[in-house]
Symmetry: C2
Subunit: 181 residues, 2 copies
């Protein structure tokens, strides 16, 4: 299936501190006039940090938008012109106080495909060593260690509500650890 | 960990056809002034339609925001005042031409927790019967049937980029079908 899309108007609605917002008027198949409203968000990286004794380093933080204390894998935006691996080193050190020796790709996807240009690339990170960077001044993060089984139990009980964490852990278990499938 | 958040300014930036956009100035722990920019998006439902011969009904559609032809589970917003199950019946009929007899909850999560209020509830749907509703006029959808193994192979090759589909299928396999874990 292929469709034809023409853009009648491309409008930047808002230039934000973190995200920009757009609204485009489009015509589909020379017939249907409609509108698409969406966020520009930079490429982002999510990291599953795996310790030598097979624990996962997680971060708990308050998510204002959803008024929710959220347990998540470390993640962050890639800065303009920054290499993906550099961003991964920086984010992991800022959020957990650890650096990694090696990355293994787990998955790449669009978290909100219909209204956000965000693309998120997930890695598992190994050979961790303590190495801190000061956290972002508006991030208040608590670092917590879990076994994979403990995280899977939390997911099973739907106690982890952050999509990237659920997707990443299930993809890691299924395709990297190859449990069962 | 608990933090204190005060809202200094709550501003509606944009009222859209599908989504609204907000920017709030907040003070964290009486010290850090920062800004949160986010989307209001209604509660949404995603459906894994399982046929009697154990195939999954998927929909392929063009996603303008990411210029990407995307293979996905059926999903949609819940209208103002609409019951969740009513929305599930409506969306499945509009997108696939099938209705269901029974739902089973798979997961509930925030797809973009930091900048969208969207909460997505995923169900598996059983006892399918043919029953069509006309599709939304600006949605061009192709219906496709897959076995679960075929979808898992596509995910393994990272050929499915839609987050809700990857999360939903992996959660369904792990917690409903209980493959391996």
């Amino acid at each position: 299936m292929k469709i034809d899309v023409k853009v009648k108007k491309h409008e930047k609605i808002y230039t934000g501190k973190f995200i920009n917002f757009y609204a485009d008027d489009i015509i589909i198949n020379n017939k249907v006039n409609t509108r698409r409203e969406y966020i520009y968000y930079p490429l982002a990286v999510g990291i599953i940090p795996v310790t030598e004794d097979n624990r996962i380093i997680m971060v708990e933080q308050y998510r204002y938008t959803n008024d929710y204390y959220s347990l998540e894998i470390p993640a962050g935006k890639i800065d303009e012109g920054e290499a993906l691996e550099t961003a991964a080193h920086r984010e992991l050190q800022e959020e957990t106080g650890y650096d990694f020796g090696r990355l293994e790709k787990v998955y790449e996807y669009y978290p909100a495909i219909s209204y956000s240009k965000e693309r998120l690339i997930i890695y598992a990170a190994y050979d961790l060593i303590k190495k801190e960077l000061p956290p972002d001044e508006d991030e208040f993060i608590e670092v917590k260690f879990f076994t994979l089984d403990e995280i899977l139990e939390l997911i099973k009980e739907n106690k982890i509500m952050d999509g990237k964490t659920v997707l990443s852990i299930l993809a890691y278990v299924t395709f990297i650890q190859k449990k069962g499938l």
